[in-house]
């Protein structure tokens, strides 16, 4: 039997989780529908006046993306925790951080990426310009992975707890505020004709920081929670 390289291990975990998600398609779709529904609630709540909706759009879509991510994070580790596969991962002879990174990546592909792809449709509902939609998609593309990664820390800390999803949101939402600010700031910059590169490069920097640190921190959180 050949030994697996770290990269193959990463791909194995991602493939496994994607296959599992495909066989439980309902979970994937509920996150997406939640996103669409929350976004649609805002015009119902504040009135259909186009000027106001256009200004609110980046914030509304971003907050909805945040909430949808929070909801789906509960599922990141819980299924594996309940059937014992998670404890086997903790005994893996290779870095647990790599396995965790694989789970974060597949979580993003299943929960974050669909939101990014849904954005143009929702952006049109809010009468956003094409450039604004483009920048919004880019900011969500950079930001949703960060939400998955930082949220994974919360998911690992709250593994198996009764408070569950709400507690996870309480812990993780404050940490996601910078991503929210830079993400919406980028869109507002483009609609005011200003330069978006500073916002997007800050997002990029946060993404790199998250990639570097969150897998290891999440692995430690998992070991603490599995005691």
């Amino acid at each position: 039997m050949k030994k697996l390289s770290l990269f193959s291990l990463l791909l194995l975990v991602i493939r496994r989780d994607l296959v599992l998600a495909m066989r439980r398609r309902a979970d994937v779709l509920t996150t997406l529908f939640f996103f669409v529904m929350v976004v649609s609630l805002f015009p119902l709540g504040v009135g259909p006046e186009m000027d106001m909706l256009r200004k609110m759009a980046p914030g509304v879509l971003w907050v909805a993306a945040l909430l949808a991510s929070m909801l789906s994070l509960g599922r990141l580790f819980s299924a594996d925790y309940l059937d014992g596969t998670l404890e086997q991962m903790l005994l893996a002879p290779q870095s647990l951080s790599v396995l965790v990174l694989g789970k974060m990546a597949s979580h993003w592909m299943v929960s974050g990426l669909p939101l990014v792809l849904m954005t143009p449709v929702l952006g049109l509902q809010f009468d956003m310009s094409v450039e604004a939609i483009g920048v919004l998609m880019l900011s969500l593309l950079l930001g949703t992975p960060i939400l998955s990664m930082v949220g994974a820390i919360g998911a690992a800390l709250t593994l198996g707890l009764r408070g569950g999803g709400v507690l996870l949101s309480l812990l993780v939402l404050p940490l996601c505020i910078p991503v929210l600010i830079f993400g919406t700031g980028a869109v507002q910059a483009v609609t005011s004709g200003l330069n978006v590169s500073s916002h997007l490069s800050l997002m990029g920097a946060l993404l790199v920081l998250a990639l570097a640190f969150t897998p290891w921190v999440t692995a430690q959180a998992l070991r603490i929670s599995m005691e």
């Binding site: 697996l4 066989r23 014992g84 404890e87 086997q88 290779q94 870095s95 396995l99």
Partner: protein, 204 residues
């Protein structure tokens, strides 16, 4: 090769055991006995590194397992109460992924051979959720056939198994011990391993 000295462990406020010392050499098998709640599962989980002991030290080949970390994990295998298989995947997929997570690439042919030996012929490609409890346990135990771990830590491996499967597990353990492996386990059903002297550790 596995040495435990002065081990003490508690659950919440409650001290389960203390001053525990033993050593397990290649070819030896040890059963951990004790009443319900005496800490058998906690001891096994401490040996796996899930739980940090209050006091004492576990060493493998002379080095503390906390230092060895992943090197220790590469040489041991744990089978707990939970089967560690995904309901939505087939037995074949589950076994190959388990092997992959342990760092080994398992070919389809080898996986099928292992599942057949476990008595799952014809059921390798069905999603495990349609299998019975006993069959799922067999899928989980198939891992014993496909890894090269020296130490097997088994927490009630015979749960849900029928007589034929119990005999099979006894056979697998005998082969493992003959090859220089070590086994430490708990069980509520009698486990007989032909020709092997069973050591015993009592926690009550």
């Amino acid at each position: 090769m596995l040495e435990v000295s002065n081990l003490a462990c508690s659950r919440g406020d409650h001290r389960l055991f203390s001053g525990l010392c033993f050593a397990l050499s290649p070819g030896q098998i040890m059963q951990v006995q004790g009443a319900n709640g005496s800490g058998k599962t906690s001891l096994l989980r401490t040996l796996c590194g899930f739980i940090s002991p209050d006091k004492g030290c576990i060493s493998w080949g002379g080095t503390d397992v906390r230092e060895l970390a992943e090197d220790y994990f590469a040489q041991m295998m744990y089978l707990g109460h939970l089967n560690a298989i995904k309901d939505e995947l087939s037995a074949l997929e589950n076994l190959r992924i388990s092997a992959g997570l342990s760092g080994m690439e398992l070919s389809e042919a080898d996986a099928i051979a292992a599942l057949r030996r476990m008595g799952l012929k014809g059921r390798e490609r069905l999603p495990t959720k349609v299998l019975s409890q006993g069959q799922r346990r067999r899928v989980s135990l198939a891992r014993l056939l496909v890894n090269d771990a020296r130490l097997w830590v088994l927490d009630e491996p015979l749960a849900a198994l029928d007589v034929g499967a119990v005999a099979l597990i006894g056979e697998l353990i005998r082969e493992h011990l003959a090859g220089g492996g070590m086994v430490i386990f708990t069980t509520h059903q009698p486990l007989v391993v032909a020709g092997m002297e069973m050591r015993s550790l009592s926690l009550s």
